[in-house]
Amino acid sequence: MKVSITVNGTKQSHEVEPRTLLVHYIREHAKLTGTNIGCDTSSCGACTVHLDGEAVKSCTILAAQVDGGSVTTIEGLAVNGEMHPMQKAFMENHGLQCGYCTPGMVMAAIDLLQENPSPTEDEVRLGLEGNLCRCTGYHNIVKSVLAAATK
C-alpha cells in the first residue's frame, strides 16, 4: 500500500507492506536511522518521534495510520546547522553516554516541556518514565531537561 507522510518538513510517498510500523518506515523507507529500536514491547522509548507535534513511540503505530500526517525525527530538530536547545542542553550537561536512547529521550523531553514549560525535578522524572536509559542513571538527563527549561 502507498502512504504519504511529511517527514522533517518534506512530503514523501512510499509503497509499504500494511504491517509496516512507523519506526520501520522511518528507518527503512525514509532512510533516517537516527530513530533507534530498543525493544519489542513499546517499553524503552528509544523510537520516540513527534507525530503532528506530539511525542509518540513510533513502534506503537503503523505507517498506514500516519498517512497524511507529519513526523519529526531527531534529524529534523537542528535548524540551519544549529542544534535544538534540548540537544545543546544534553551536550552541556553530559546527558548522554552511548547515545542509543538519546534521540528518543530528546524527543520525549521536548514534548515534556511543551506540556509543562517549568517542570520540577520530580515532574521531569515522571514525565520521562516511558524512556529507558542504561548508561546515565538519569541524573544528567534530568539535569539537561531542567537546564533546557530555563532557556
Partner: protein
C-alpha cells in the same frame, strides 16, 4: 588555539564537553544496524523453546520454500563450517570441564534461546516469518535451574563431560597451616551468611547486531558488530571459522552500551561469517529485545556462603568463602573467570591477616550462559563482605561504621617506614596501589549526615511506625585496570592485559591518536585527545582519536574491566613520550645543540637556560615530514607506537552511603539519599567520571531493588522483555550525590585508576544494608535481592512470625 601558542593551564582535569555528542544527538552516528549494506541477506535464528531437549529431527523444507527465503540451515548442516568450537578464553583450572559449544546446537538444546536453526532471506521480516515454518521435533528433558541440585548430577546436561560441575578453584592463604580453623575456633564473634546473587540481564539499550561483508574472490571479510572487543573478535573469528587472521577485519561502529554483554564472541557473529562466505554475499542480523534477554549473556548468578571471624573488638581474624557459580548452559568467552575476579576481594578494604579460605565451584545449568556484567565478580564479592560486616556489627551491637573503622587498612600502611609509597601488600600477595579508606568514608558519611540520620532514625523507628528509616554504607576496593599480563598468566587467562597506542603528528601539526580501546559510551575520543594534548602541548581540538577498526587500529585488547584509561590511556601517554623523544633529536639537530640540553614544555622545545632559543613541535613535525634535514639515523615522519603492560592492577576505592525509607505495609523502599564518594586517583575529565558513577550506581541499585532474571522450574525465562524485567526508569531512582577524594595511583605516570565499574561495585550492598537497617528493629536480619515490595513484605511478615 594553534599549536604554537603557549597554553597556560592544564587540559587534564577539566570538564571538557564530549566531542562524541553532536553525532549522537542528531542521529548522525551510525550503529551497526544503521549501516546501509547493499545486497545483504538477513539472518534469523530459530531458538529452542525448551530448556533441555534432544533434537530428534528438523524439517526445514516448508521454510525453505517461503517467499524471500534463500536457505535454511541446522546445526548439523553447519558443523563442517567450524574449525573449532565457540571460544572460552579462560580455562581457570587444568581440569576445567568445557563442553564443545557450536553456534547452532547439534544434538540437543541446553537452554531456552539456544539456537537450533538459521534462516537466510532477502529481508529481516521474511527471515523471521520463515522461522515459524521450521518443524523441530524435540524430546524434552528435565531442566536444571537450581545450582545446589545441579551439583548432585541427577540430570546431566552435557553427557560428554559426565558431570554438571565445571571446576573448583581455591585460594587459601594461611600464615601457618590451620590458621583459618584456628581463627574461627578462637573468635569472639563469628557470622555465617548465605547470599544469592540473582541473575541479571545486562540490557544494553542497543541490542546486538552484526553485518558481515565478504570479498568472495579475494577471501577477505569485514565484520561490523555491536561489540566491545573488535580485536579479540578478530582473533577468535580466525580460530573458530578457520579464516587466516590477516583476512579478517572487524569494525565496531557506534555501539550502544555494553556493560560486559558485548564482551563476547557470539553465535550470531560466527553464523554471519560462515553464511556470508558460503553465499558470497553480505549477511546481517539484528537482535530483538526478547532474543536479547535469552541469547545475550546474563550476569551474576552465584550462591555465596561467607563466614567472618572477629576478635572481641570486631577486628577480622579470618574470612571463609564458599561459592557456587552458575555458568549457565555453556562457557562463553570469560564465563569461568568471573568468580575469580572477585576471589581476592572478599576481605574488602579490611586489614586481614593471612587467614583466608576461598573456594568456588562452578556448575552448568540449563539457563542462558553467564559472563562478565559490569563489575564482574567484584560487585558480588563486595556485596558479600559488606553485608556480612553489617551482620557482624548487629551481632556485636555496635554501629557498622564503627566496625569498619576498626578494620580499615590505614593510609600509613601504604607507605614504608621511610615514607616511600610502597603500596599495601595484602594477605594474598597482591599489592594495593594506594588508598585512604577512612578519608573517603568520613567524607561520604558527612555528606549523608550519617549521625543526623541515626538520630532521626531513633525517633522515627518506634514500635508500630509504618515508615521506617534505614542507613547503609559500603566501603569498597576494586581490582581493575585489567591487567598485568604476568598476573593474568598466573590465573590461566588466555591473553595478556596490555594496550597499544600509536600517536602521529601530521605535517600540518594536527595529531592522530590510534587506540586499541573500543568505546561504547565512555567518551574515549574526548578523554584520549585530552591526554595527548596535555603531553604534546597542543590543543585537544587538534587531536583526532581513531579506534574500533582493526584495519586502522590493528593492535588492541579492547574495552572492559575498567581498563581503558588505566591501561589504554597510559599507552597513549607512552606513545606521546616516544614522539617527543624523536622530535627532541630533530630539534637538537636543527638548533645545533645536544638533545639533553633541550627541555620540552607546552609544545615547545627550548634550550635550558636560554628560553629565547625555541622551536615548536609543529615545526619539527613538518621537518620530519619533508625529511630534508634530519639527523643521521632518524627516520622521516613523527610517529610512534607504544604498548603498555601495566605494573599492577588499578585499585579504585570509596565509600557509598544510602538512606532509605521502607513502607512496612506495602514493602516499598524509597531511596531518600544516595551519596557516592569515589577515588579513582587523578581524573582526566571529571564530567565523564561523574557520569560513570551515576550510571554505575543506578545499575547496582537496580540489582538491589528491581532486577532479576526469573526462571521457572522448567527452565523458562519469565522476564523476557522490558515490561517484565524491571530496568528502572527516571522516576524509580534518586538523584546521586557524587563526590571524590583524590589518591593518585603511584604505579602509573598519570596517577589514574578506572571508574567504569566502581558505582556498580559499591551500590547493591549499600542499598541492601540500608533496607535491612530499616527493618532490623522488626527482627529482619536477612533479605534477598531484589528488595521488591513483595520480598520486603514477606521478610517483615516472616520476622514478625507471620502476624502482619
Amino acid at each position: 588555539m594553534s599549536i604554537t601558542e603557549e597554553r597556560k593551564t592544564s587540559v587534564l582535569g577539566t570538564r571538557m564537553l564530549r566531542r562524541e555528542d553532536p553525532a549522537l544527538l542528531t542521529g548522525e552516528a551510525k550503529y551497526t544496524n544503521d549501516l546501509a549494506i547493499p545486497g545483504a541477506l538477513h539472518l534469523a535464528v530459530l531458538r529452542s523453546p525448551y530448556a533441555h531437549a534432544k533434537i530428534r529431527s528438523i524439517d526445514t523444507s516448508d521454510a525453505a520454500s517461503m517467499p524471500g527465503v534463500v536457505a535454511v540451515y541446522t546445526g548439523k548442516d553447519l558443523l563442517s563450517s567450524w574449525a573449532a568450537p565457540m571460544p572460552c578464553a579462560w580455562p581457570v583450572t587444568p581440569d576445567m570441564k568445557n563442553p564443545a559449544h557450536y553456534p547452532l546446537a547439534v544434538d540437543k538444546a541446553c537452554y531456552v534461546g539456544d539456537g537450533v536453526a538459521a534462516v537466510l532471506a532477502t529481508s529481516d521480516a521474511a527471515a523471521r516469518d520463515a522461522l515459524d515454518a521450521i518443524d523441530v521435533v524435540y524430546e524434552p528433558l528435565a531442566a536444571v535451574t537450581d545450582l545446589e541440585a545441579a551439583l548432585r548430577d541427577e540430570t546431566i546436561i552435557h553427557e560428554s563431560i559426565g558431570t554438571n560441575k565445571s571446576y573448583t578453584w581455591n585460594l587459601k592463604v594461611e600464615a601457618k597451616e590451620g590458621a583459618v580453623d584456628e581463627a574461627f575456633k578462637n573468635a569472639a564473634y563469628t557470622v555465617h551468611e548465605r547470599y544469592v546473587q540473582q541473575r541479571l540481564i545486562p540490557m544494553a539499550m542497543e541490542p546486538r547486531a552484526v553485518a558481515v561483508v565478504p570479498q568472495p574472490f579475494g577471501g577477505d571479510i569485514t565484520i561490523y558488530s555491536a561489540t566491545q572487543i573488535p580485536h579479540i573478535l578478530k582473533v577468535m573469528t580466525a580460530i573458530t571459522a578457520g579464516i587466516p587472521e590477516h583476512q579478517v577485519r572487524v569494525v565496531a561502529p557506534a555501539v550502544g552500551g555494553g556493560f560486559g554483554s558485548k564482551l563476547n564472541v557470539y553465535a550470531e557473529e560466527l553464523l554471519c561469517v560462515a553464511l556470508s562466505r558460503k553465499h558470497g554475499a553480505p549477511v546481517r542480523w539484528v537482535e530483538e529485545r526478547t532474543e536479547n534477554t535469552q541469547a545475550t549473556i546474563h550476569g551474576r548468578g552465584q550462591i555465596q556462603h561467607i563466614e567472618l571471624a572477629a576478635d572481641k573488638d570486631g577486628r577480622l581474624t579470618a574470612v571463609r568463602v564458599r561459592l557456587i557459580g552458575d555458568m549457565g548452559a555453556y562457557l562463553q568467552l570469560v564465563t569461568p573467570g568471573v568468580p575469580l575476579l572477585g576471589a581476592f576481594l572478599y576481605a574488602g578494604v579490611y586489614d586481614l591477616p593471612q587467614a583466608y579460605d576461598f573456594s568456588c565451584t562452578s556448575v552448568f545449568t540449563t539457563m542462558t550462559p553467564t559472563d562478565a556484567y559490569r563489575g564482574a565478580g567484584r560487585p558480588e564479592a563486595t556485596y558479600a563482605i559488606e553485608v556480612a560486616m553489617d551482620a557482624l556489627a548487629r551481632k556485636m551491637k555496635i554501629d557498622p561504621f564503627e566496625l569498619r573503622q576498626r578494620n580499615y587498612i590505614k593510609r600509613e600502611q601504604f607507605f614504608d617506614a621511610k615514607g616511600n609509597q610502597t603500596g599495601y601488600t595484602a594477605f594474598h600477595g597482591l599489592n594495593y596501589d594506594s588508598a585512604n579508606h577512612l578519608a573517603a568514608a568520613q567524607k561520604a558519611t558527612e555528606i549523608a549526615d550519617y549521625a543526623g540520620v541515626r538520630k532521626k532514625q531513633a525517633q522515627q523507628n518506634v514500635p508500630g511506625a509504618r515508615k521506617r528509616l534505614g542507613i547503609g554504607m559500603t566501603s569498597y576496593f576494586e581490582m581493575c585496570g585489567l591487567a598485568p599480563s604476568r598476573v593474568l598468566a598466573s590465573l590461566n587467562y588466555g591473553a595478556g592485559g596490555w594496550e597499544s597506542a600509536t600517536v602521529r603528528v601530521l605535517p600540518t601539526s594536527k595529531v592522530q591518536v590510534v587506540t586499541g580501546t573500543s568505546p561504547h559510551g565512555q567518551g574515549h575520543e574526548t578523554s584520549w585527545a585530552m591526554i595527548a594534548a596535555e603531553k604534546l602541548g597542543v590543543a585537544p581540538e587538534d587531536v583526532d582519536v581513531l579506534h574500533s577498526d582493526t584495519a586502522i587500529a590493528p593492535l588492541g585488547l579492547d574495552t572492559y574491566g575498567s581498563r581503558s584509561l588505566a591501561v589504554g590511556g597510559l599507552a597513549i601517554a607512552g606513545a606521546c613520550d616516544k614522539v617527543i623523544d624523536k622530535a627532541r633529536l630533530i630539534a637538537a639537530h636543527q638548533m645545533e645543540c645536544a638533545a639533553e640540553d633541550l627541555q620540552f614544555d607546552k609544545g615547545v622545545f627550548s634550550v635550558k637556560g636560554s628560553p629565547e632559543k625555541a622551536v615548536p613541535i609543529a615545526a619539527i613535525a613538518f621537518a620530519a615530514f619533508t625529511a630534508h634535514n634530519l639527523p643521521d639515523g632518524v627516520e622521516p615522519n613523527l610517529e610512534a607506537q607504544y604498548t603498555h603492560d601495566p605494573k599492577n592492577f588499578s585499585w579504585p576505592f570509596g565509600t557509598h552511603v544510602c538512606v532509605v525509607e521502607v513502607d512496612t505495609e506495602t514493602g516499598k523502599v524509597d531511596v531518600l539519599k544516595y551519596v557516592a564518594v569515589d577515588d579513582c586517583g587523578n581524573q582526566v575529565n571529571p564530567l565523564i567520571v561523574e557520569g560513570q558513577v551515576h550510571g554505575g550506581v543506578v545499575q547496582g541499585l537496580a540489582q538491589a531493588l528491581y532486577e532479576e532474571a526469573v526462571y521457572d522450574s522448567d527452565g523458562n525465562l519469565k522476564t523476557t522483555n522490558l515490561a517484565e524485567y524491571l530496568v528502572p526508569a527516571a522516576c524509580d531512582v534518586p538523584p546521586i550525590t557524587t563526590d571524590f577524594t583524590v589518591t593518585p595511583s603511584p604505579t602509573n605516570e598519570l596517577g589514574v585508576k578506572g571508574i567504569g565499574e566502581a558505582g556498580t561495585i559499591g551500590a547493591a550492598s549499600t542499598v541492601m544494608n540500608a533496607v535491612i537497617d530499616a527493618l532490623a528493629g522488626l527482627g529482619v536480619t536477612h533479605l534477598d535481592m531484589p528488595a521488591s515490595p513483595n520480598n520486603v513484605w514477606k521478610a517483615i511478615n516472616a520476622a514478625q512470625g507471620g502476624k502482619q
